[in-house]
C-alpha cells in the first residue's frame, strides 16, 4: 500500500472552495473533525453547502459551542442538509430568518442516502417519512402492497471526517460513538480528508479491524488539541 500525504489543517482547509458541497462527520460534535473545522473557520471560506447529521451544540444561554457550529456561526453555509438542528440556536435563528436554507432529512434516510452515494446505488425505498411532510415531492413506489418513498443518493465534493487512528496508507479506525457518519461520508465524496489522533506505520493495523479501507482516504491531518 502506498502512503497518503499527511497535510496541515490549513492545507486541508485550502482544498475546500466556495460553492463546494461539504460533508462533515460528527454527532452533536462527537467525532467531528475539529482541527480541520478550526482551520476552515480561519480560512473564512463561505458559500458552502453542508451535509451533516446535525449542527452540534450552540447554546445562546450557556455559550456552549462545538463541532461544526463555529462554521454555522460564521455563515459559512448557504444551505444545510441535516436531520437535527434543535441544539444549535444559531442554525435555528438563520433558518427562521431565512438567511440559510435548511433541509431536514430523517437521520436514517440521511445515513442511507450517503451510503448509496458512495456505493453507486441510484436510490432506495424506505417506509420512513410516509404520510409526513418528508413525503412531499417524492415518488411513492409500492412493492408487494407496501408503500415506500424513493430516496436518492447524496454525494459531496469534499468530506472532512475524524478517526481515532490511521495507518500511513489511510486505513481508519474509529472509537466509540465518534464513528457515526464518518465511515459513510468517507465513501461519498470526491476528496476525503481524514483527521486522526494517531498515525501508525503501514501494517500495524489488523486487516480484520479496519473500519474505513485506505482507498477511500485521500489525505490525513493530525488532530491538534485546541489551546484555550
Amino acid at each position: 500500500m502506498l502512503a497518503k500525504p499527511i497535510i496541515s489543517a490549513a492545507e486541508a482547509a485550502g482544498r475546500i472552495k466556495s460553492g463546494d458541497v461539504l460533508m462533515s462527520g460528527g454527532f452533536m460534535g462527537c467525532g467531528a473533525p475539529d482541527t480541520i473545522i478550526r482551520a476552515l473557520k480561519a480560512a473564512g471560506t463561505k458559500g458552502l453547502t453542508l451535509i451533516s447529521t446535525d449542527t452540534a451544540f450552540h447554546d445562546f444561554k450557556t455559550g456552549r459551542i462545538n463541532g461544526i457550529a463555529p462554521l454555522v456561526q460564521d455563515r459559512a453555509f448557504v444551505r444545510i442538509i441535516a436531520s437535527h438542528i434543535g441544539l444549535n440556536h444559531e442554525t435555528q435563528r438563520q433558518m427562521n430568518a431565512q438567511e440559510t436554507e435548511v433541509e431536514l432529512v430523517p437521520q436514517g434516510t440521511l445515513a442511507e442516502r450517503i451510503r448509496c452515494g458512495g456505493a453507486g446505488i441510484g436510490g432506495f425505498l424506505t417506509p420512513t417519512g410516509l404520510g409526513t411532510e418528508v413525503e412531499e415531492g417524492k415518488q411513492v413506489i409500492t412493492v408487494d402492497d407496501r408503500s415506500y418513498l424513493l430516496e436518492r443518493p447524496l454525494k459531496a465534493d469534499v468530506a472532512i471526517i475524524k478517526a481515532k487512528k490511521a495507518d500511513k496508507a489511510g486505513n481508519l479506525i474509529y472509537a466509540g460513538t465518534a464513528r457515526n457518519f464518518n465511515p459513510l461520508m468517507a465513501t461519498a465524496a470526491e476528496l476525503v480528508i481524514a483527521e486522526v489522533e494517531e498515525i501508525v506505520e503501514i501494517g500495524e493495523i489488523d486487516p480484520n479491524q479496519v473500519h474505513t479501507p485506505s482507498i477511500f482516504v485521500d489525505c490525513l491531518v493530525r488532530s491538534e488539541t485546541q489551546e484555550s
Binding site: 452540534a56 441535516a82 441544539l87 437521520q107 442511507e112 420512513t128 409526513t132 411532510e133 459513510l184
Partner: protein
C-alpha cells in the same frame, strides 16, 4: 378530581412492559426515566441511534470519554458485551425491525396512531433526528406523555394537527392517567392509574376511547 402532572408514573408503568433482554431505544427526555424503574431481573439492551448497542449508565464526573455520547450528546458508558457501529448500520437495525420497543415523547398523538413530536411550525423546528425511523422501524412504538398540555387540552387527539412524525405507527400510549392501546382507529383504555377513573378520563379527553372490558385500575 384534581390532576397533578406525574412523569414518574409514566416511566414506572412503561418499565413494567418489558421482559428481560428486550432491545429498546429510549427517546431523549421523559423516556429515559424508564430505566430507573425496571423491575428486578429485567435488563434491557438499550440501543442508541448514534451508533451503540448496550448503553450503560452515565459515567461518573471526570470519567467522561469525548468519544462516547448518547443521541442527545450527553456522556455515556457502554455495558460489557455492548458494541459500536456506524449510522447506516444503526438505522438498518432500527428500520429493519431489530429494535423491539421504542419509547418516544409526544406533542400530539391521535386515535389513528399518528404521532407528532418533532415540529411546531413557525415556532420550534428542531428536525426529526432519528424519530421518524424509530417510529416506523421499532416493532412496538410506545408514546410517553403527560396526559394534558399546559392549556388543559388532552395530548390524545382525534386528529393530530401538527406535522406528523409517522402515520399510524403508535401501538401504545402511556400517560400519567392511564395506558392505552391503539387499534382500529381508536384508543383502548387498558389501565387507569389511581386515583383517575375511566369516566374521568373519557370526560377529559377529546378522542374516541373504548374502555377495554379487562380495564383495571392500577396504583403505581
Amino acid at each position: 378530581m384534581d390532576y397533578t402532572p406525574n412523569k414518574e408514573n409514566i416511566a414506572k408503568r412503561i418499565a413494567r412492559i418489558f421482559k428481560n433482554g428486550d432491545v429498546v431505544n429510549l427517546g431523549i427526555g421523559l423516556p429515559t426515566l424508564v430505566v430507573d424503574h425496571l423491575p428486578e431481573g429485567v435488563t434491557l439492551i438499550l440501543q442508541s441511534e448514534n451508533g451503540l448497542m448496550g448503553l450503560g449508565p452515565a459515567p461518573e464526573k471526570g470519567q467522561e470519554d469525548p468519544d462516547m455520547v448518547n443521541a442527545g450528546g450527553a456522556p455515556l458508558s457502554v455495558v460489557p458485551g455492548g458494541c459500536f457501529f456506524d449510522s447506516a448500520t444503526s438505522f438498518g437495525i432500527i428500520r429493519g425491525g431489530h429494535v423491539d420497543y421504542t419509547v418516544l415523547g409526544v406533542l400530539e398523538v391521535d386515535q389513528q396512531g399518528n404521532l407528532a413530536n418533532y415540529k411546531v411550525p413557525g415556532k420550534m423546528v428542531p428536525g426529526m433526528g432519528g424519530a421518524m425511523d424509530l417510529t416506523i422501524g421499532a416493532r412496538v412504538v410506545i408514546a410517553a406523555t403527560l396526559h394534558f398540555e399546559p392549556s388543559g387540552a388532552s395530548r390524545l387527539k382525534r386528529h393530530c394537527k401538527l406535522p406528523l412524525t409517522a402515520a399510524g405507527e403508535v401501538n401504545y400510549v402511556v400517560t400519567d392517567v392511564g395506558m392505552f392501546e391503539i387499534v382500529g382507529g381508536r384508543f383502548h383504555l387498558l389501565e387507569c392509574f389511581a386515583p383517575y377513573t375511566p369516566e374521568w378520563i373519557l370526560e377529559k379527553t377529546d378522542a374516541e376511547i373504548h374502555v377495554s372490558t379487562s380495564c383495571k385500575t392500577v396504583s403505581l
